[in-house]
């Protein structure tokens, strides 16, 4: 019996199912990455595992117990950080630590929180509110909060998507290291196959929605610790990446898709400084409208 078990789980919000017949089993201590297109239903899947959503059909089990409600045994890094804006970085993490360890002394809790703040390099921002942090810093707080809860299983919903490449790599290494040390069960949602391959034991693609379902598992047979630089030249890595990408594009085969983008063409005309600024122009009204354009790209597999 696997540690986390999903049997024929489907989820709809009233219309066509977002997720259909999801089957997944994750062993204790395993690191699984789920890759999928935007809007496929990745967040929906993680919310089901977290217990924040109820499945329309099927059964989810953790440790052989049905998942019926959320709980602190599952640490989540939400895609949108979900930090409480009225609490500082320290207080946000402390709230979680208090909830999980009600019997600890205040000193112990504080020490624990500080440790995790330091782990994500946020000690200088310890007493800042989320509103004063950059997107990437917020994501790090969110990661620190989940880790500080020391949960049985970590659910990471695109935890690094808002980060720049460098910070992203650092935190990937951090997650990899923490995982190697504690062997927590991890379900990582990502839209980046490379990230999945670098971190996980197993990669499972989620097909394009609606009616998204999990594809076959791709086992990552690259020994750990993995080296970021050499991995790119690894034959197995390249092969895996090709297979995953092919599978995912293939799942879109019968769907016609067009991506529509709103483009804002930049102003290239210089502002006329000889026009005196009156009260009205002073109030931030743009002198010239940006040119708006819509561009539609047909995506064919």
């Amino acid at each position: 019996m696997a540690y986390l078990e999903l049997n024929n789980v489907s989820k709809d919000f009233g219309g066509t199912p977002v997720l259909k017949d999801i089957n997944l089993s994750v062993e204790k201590g395993e690191f699984v990455a789920i890759v999928g297109f935007s809007g496929a239903g990745k967040t929906t899947l993680i919310s089901l595992i977290a217990g924040l959503l109820k499945p329309s059909a099927g059964l989810l089990k953790l440790n052989d117990l049905e998942i019926t409600e959320p709980g602190p045994d599952r640490g989540i890094v939400f895609q949108n950080y979900s930090l409480l804006p009225w609490l500082t970085v320290f207080e946000n993490i402390l709230l979680a630590v208090e909830a999980v360890n009600p019997n600890w002394t205040p000193e112990k809790r504080q020490e624990h929180v500080e440790k995790y703040i330091a782990m994500v390099n946020l000690t200088p921002a310890r007493d800042k509110k989320p509103g004063e942090l950059s997107g990437g810093m917020r994501q790090r707080v969110s990661v620190a909060r989940a880790l500080a809860m020391d949960p049985q299983i970590l659910l990471l919903d695109e935890p690094l998507s808002a980060l720049d490449a460098l910070t992203r790599a650092t935190l990937q290494d951090e997650i990899s290291r923490i995982w190697s040390e504690n062997r927590k069960t991890v379900v990582l949602i990502t839209n980046d196959p490379d990230e999945g391959i670098y971190l996980a034991d197993r990669i499972i693609p989620l097909t394009a929605g609606p009616n998204a379902t999990l594809g076959p598992s791709f086992k990552v047979e690259i020994p750990r610790p993995r080296d970021r630089k050499s991995i790119n030249h690894d034959a197995h890595f390249k092969q895996l990446r090709r297979e995953i990408v092919e599978f995912m594009l293939g799942s879109k085969q019968d769907r016609h898709m067009a991506i529509t983008k709103k483009l804002i063409l930049p102003d290239i005309e210089p502002e006329d400084l000889s026009i005196p600024r009156t009260m009205t122009s002073w109030r931030k009204t743009p002198i010239r409208k940006h040119e708006l354009k819509e561009e539609s790209v047909e995506v064919k597999p």
Binding site: E69, L84, L95
Partner: protein, 264 residues
């Protein structure tokens, strides 16, 4: 520095022009169709003792204007806090429970538009047994019941508008009910609550005048009514201006507090 000129012009000169226009209209009205209306100059002359010695007490109903204002403010403060203490929990219940909303929302919608002039007699009847406190209690009741609705409704809206993300955090951490209330629900709805508080204060100040007029309590409203009966119309205008200025200041103060409590 170029912006200094339009700045002063907009914020100082234009409002002064507005005042001048109104004074002119007032003066013209006095001279034409409103023969009983005291002129601006007469109003000023007659109001001078009340303005120059704002805290003087010459008799029960003959006191400096700020002293009257002070009495009114105290009464408003009492009624207003009563409104907040009652209104905020009701707002939370409305925001949290659909059943509660369905049960009580119709009643609230019906009671909300009832004028203070209608509530006051009921308040006096309710506290008739209280002897000499009857008029104060009746006035407090009226202020509270008239001014609590914005607090009730805004708190309810604020609670309903709490983003699911914050509630998810509370759920995942399995926070206790009290912790959820104090760490998530209240901070998340605080900005809405303060908007309600500000609107409530405005209404409380509106109601005070009606309450004082009907009960004859000393205060700006009571003074206004007494001077009307005494045919000293200048003081009616003095009271109106005082009420307006005080209301304006209260609103400004509240919006400062409101800004201070912007949690999100």
């Amino acid at each position: 520095m170029q912006t200094m000129k339009p700045f002063k012009f907009d914020w100082l000169v234009l409002p002064l022009i507005g005042v001048a226009v109104v004074l002119l209209l007032w003066q013209v009205s006095c001279a034409t169709w409103a023969k009983d209306l005291p002129t601006p100059l007469k109003t000023w002359e007659s109001s001078k003792p009340y303005l120059m010695e704002p805290f003087a007490k010459r008799g029960e109903m003959d006191q400096g204007i700020l002293r009257f204002t002070w009495y009114s403010l105290i009464l408003v403060a009492k009624g207003y806090f009563l409104a907040l203490i009652i209104g905020t929990p009701i707002g939370f219940l409305l925001g949290l429970s659909k059943a509660f909303t369905k049960t009580f929302d119709p009643i609230i919608q019906v009671l909300r538009p009832v004028s203070p002039l209608a509530w006051l007699p009921l308040g006096l009847v309710l506290f008739m047994g209280a002897g000499k406190n009857a008029s104060e209690l009746g006035a407090l009741f009226t202020i509270a019941i008239c001014s609590m609705w914005p607090t009730v409704l805004n708190t309810a809206v604020g609670v309903r508008a709490i983003p699911q993300d914050y509630l998810n955090v509370a759920k995942v951490l399995k926070l206790s009910r009290t912790k959820t209330l104090f760490k998530v629900l209240i901070p998340a709805s605080l900005p809405y609550m303060f908007t309600g508080f500000r609107l409530s204060l405005g209404i409380a100040w509106l109601v005070i005048v009606a309450a004082e007029m009907l009960t004859g309590r000393p205060g700006v409203g009571g003074f206004l009514w007494q001077e009307y009966n005494a045919l000293i119309y200048e003081h009616i205008i003095l009271c109106i201006i005082t009420i307006g200025v005080v209301g304006f200041i209260l609103d400004r103060l509240m919006s400062l507090v409101e800004k201070r409590f912007k949690t999100i």
